[in-house]
Symmetry: C3
């Protein structure tokens, strides 16, 4: 079973999508209640300049520091870059995507994502401007 989420990101940063994923999984489980007790939810982002991560959802300062740290590790306008035609934020976006996750799998137990107490699911927009991003949600 699958569905596709369209996420409108406001620009670069970590955008929590836990609720959208939770709702999508709930709707899929309503169509096949046999998967409710134990199944697997896999998220797949159909882009190479945005990615997925699971991070602490309690204190926003942790996400702020994570973004700042990665921006410093992979700065724009690196003299090494030759792929510059799509803007200074494009090549850093590909690198950041390679260093994080394109797919994530989360067990579903008793109808709920088996996230830890402080875990949230995030779409990490690496481009500076707002984008429309597609995430395929598969439950099986």
């Amino acid at each position: 079973m699958h569905t596709t989420l369209t996420i409108e990101t406001p620009g670069q940063g970590l955008h929590e999508i836990t609720n959208q994923v939770h709702d999508a999984v709930g709707a899929l489980l309503d169509r096949d209640t046999s998967a409710r007790r134990s199944s697997l939810c896999t998220l797949f982002i159909q882009h190479t300049s945005a990615s997925l991560t699971i991070q602490e959802n309690a204190d926003p300062s942790a996400r702020h520091d994570l973004e700042s740290w990665l921006n410093r590790l992979v700065p724009e306008r690196d003299a090494l870059f030759t792929h510059t035609s799509e803007g200074p934020d494009d090549m850093p976006s590909h690198i950041k995507s390679a260093l994080t996750a394109t797919s994530l799998s989360i067990p579903v137990l008793d109808g709920r994502l088996a996230l830890g107490t402080w875990q949230g699911v995030y779409l990490w927009e690496h481009r500076v401007r707002a984008h429309s991003r597609r995430v395929v949600v598969h439950v099986g």
Copy 2:
């Protein structure tokens, strides 16, 4: 089918959990032998300051160097960090988790994890002190 492993880590570092995962998968397959020939084992760690990785299990010096390298890349007490209330090792732990894996999927063939000859499964504790960590093992 799923089960949850509780792993007591002695502190920061790569801790091999291949045997625990192997035993958990074996016990799950005993409950449903139809999954024995070909299925998929997914591991999910319910924390954001520890992660999962598959690494060489032959020579301990490779793991030692991997830890040293990542500790140098993500040092404590970075002037950039604002998320410091949980200790100097907390923010580096979140970054290291984002750069490695929260979920891992390993095919199960003929009742065994299809690991390569030199591959071992590791829980990577990023906090300095000992912690109790939960890893959900899903087979389906």
Copy 3:
């Protein structure tokens, strides 16, 4: 359902395997057409000095820059390394593998991998010399 691909890499770099994966998935779906409409393809590389990634397959300069950037981040002959007996490119290979993916999951919709428009699947050879690499393809 599973099969194993053997990929002969010509040496260090990103080698596209999208077609091989597509063909393998097609052959597996021919054996069980019930999985055609919606299933999950998981790739698992049985090595710790090569990895998997999904990257832009349009402009080769993006992959070139990605390789150059990672080679600069993880150079050979780092004074920190003690694991040197297998050659100067071995320890960087393990680190690069830990920073990228050992397993990747891609939904299969209507018999096709649900890749985005610009996404390709790559085997990232981190060793300098040519290698024979095994990737398990699981569909379920």
